[in-house]
Amino acid sequence: MNASTSETQVPFTTIIGLEVHVQLQTLTKLFCGCSTAFGAPPNTQVCPVCLGLPGSLPVMNQRAFRLALKAALALDCNIASFTKWDRKNYFYPDLPKGYQISQFDLPFSTDGTLEVIDPKGTIGPCRVGIVRVHLEEDAGKSMHDETAGSGDTRIDLNRAGTPLCEIVTQPDLRSPQEARLWLNELKLLLVYLGVSDCNMQEGSLRVDANVNLHIPQPDGRIAKTPIVEIKNMNSFRSVERALVYETTRQWGVWQETHAEMGKTPKQTRGWDDPAGVTRAQRHKEESSDYRYFPEPDLVPVTVSSAQQAAVRSEMGEPPVRVRKGLETRWKISAYDADVLVNQGRQLVDYFEELATLIGDGKIASNWLQQDVLRTLNERGGTIEDFPVRPAALAELIARVNAGDFDTSRAREIFSEMLASGRSAADAVLSMGIAVIGDDELVALCRDILAANPKIVADVKGGKEQAAAGLIGHAKKKNPNINPGKVRTICIDLIRAMQ
């Protein structure tokens, strides 16, 4: 058995598989021309097709199919040369046709993988098999008004018919932490490729998790607890928390009942985020009997190897390659590359522009992480709208490198550039910072040394750290001095006295 996450020694192995639905980045729905824009007033993006009115016929959105194909290729799936759609029949008020158009026995892709490596190294690399990726339509939204006590459920069908890519993994994940790490990589991949915006708040990415425990028995047999499907998790953090909770819960139940898989039906539990618990959901009678049959209203789709190649060629770089590229081109650590890549393609572009201008990846990475990202976190907004563009920041960094001012002074200038939108040079001027010439600085240092014989004696006696006391005096004389330079000059001058 796999015990890859042996940080906490537990007498079982956690087995996790995920089912992820992502909304594809299209303008229109999967089978009709209604908009997929989020947040429109209820029932304003509906037509006879997505309302399931009699006589209407679906026609497949080409872009949706290409995006799904892109996702499947990026996940290293085998692409079926022939694929068809099926009706999945069930009754629910937010499903106007009484069936969902999905894919059953001939999905367009199967057998992929996505590997993720933890940049912090705390979780071993996890390679997760993909069972299938298929293309299907979303249902509408039901709103249960519990507060008003009215007996009605309100239905908004704007979302009905939105294109979804369903990604089903093998049960290859071994801990809640791995599941979160892997989901993050999947999301990053789909966002980088422009397949989906993966916005969980808007429901563009939804995750269900299947989890159970494998418990080695004294006789060598592996006991397996009943599989539980967890739904209703609204963030990757919730996924991790729900899985942690569920693992502990199953272990507790096992110790009490020794109930094994197969003896009880698969259970669905909903995650209650505020309470931090999973709760059993009402068992849907015969829910597994969807009576799939081929969708007669859609003709099959074939995919040639030339079409696959075309989609591949427009694919763009997946995050794993972007990280590697940053590491090798700019000699930054895997950890730093990961931090940058996690912020999205636009931040990576900003970084590369800055690094090219200043010719140093490490310094560029430090500025981005310590100053730019911190500012973005505080103020919100995106890197595209960030007021200090790479050229302006490069100019500032060049002045720091030239010794015109130290880093803390540079930060003040950076704040001024942010606030005013000025260039580094203009910000320096407007702040009244005069750059002191080298001769002037040496003269200033001589004055301080003359005025502070005690410190000079200490430094002479070998206590170089005493020179720090000189910097305060220098700042009093001229606030624009570069402390590092003052220190070096003073020590050189003292040495020269000996």
């Binding site: 299209t26 303008l27 229109t28 009709c32 021309g33 209604c34 908009s35 007033p41 209820p42 029932n43 304003t44 993006q45 509906v46 037509c47 006879p48 309302l51 026609v59 497949m60 959105n61 080409q62 872009r63 949706a64 029949n89 009754f91 629910y92 008020p93 937010d94 499903l95 969902q100 979303d138 249902a139 039901s142 709103m143 249960h144 007996g151 009605d152 459920t153 309100r154 239905i155 908004d156 069908l157 979804l164 369903e166 939804r206 739904k231 669905t268 909903g270 959901q281 009402r282 849907k284 015969e286 829910s287 009997d289 081929p294 007669p296 859609l298 003709v299 099959p300 789709v301 074939t302």
Partner: protein, 100 residues
Amino acid sequence: MTLSQQEVAKVAALARLALFDHELATMTSELSNIVGFVSLLEELDTTNVDPLAHPLDAENVFRDDVPSPSLSTAEALQSAPRHDGQYFLVPAVLGESGAA
């Protein structure tokens, strides 16, 4: 080909049809006849016949991802048994959606 009453009862439940016992008996015999009629096809030797995914000899029918006008909310709701001008209204449903 005979269907059992349990099979017919299950199909009825899936289709949200409530049948009286005498209806169940009638349905079972009538459905058995229909399925029996179709099962004549099983007599054909299909060893060398590829499975048929669609009766039409057509493939790859797509449309471009270009928005077209939707209905107005009033039009969309006009045939609903109940609505509030914005939403379709249905009796409270508390179970989990089986969606996706």
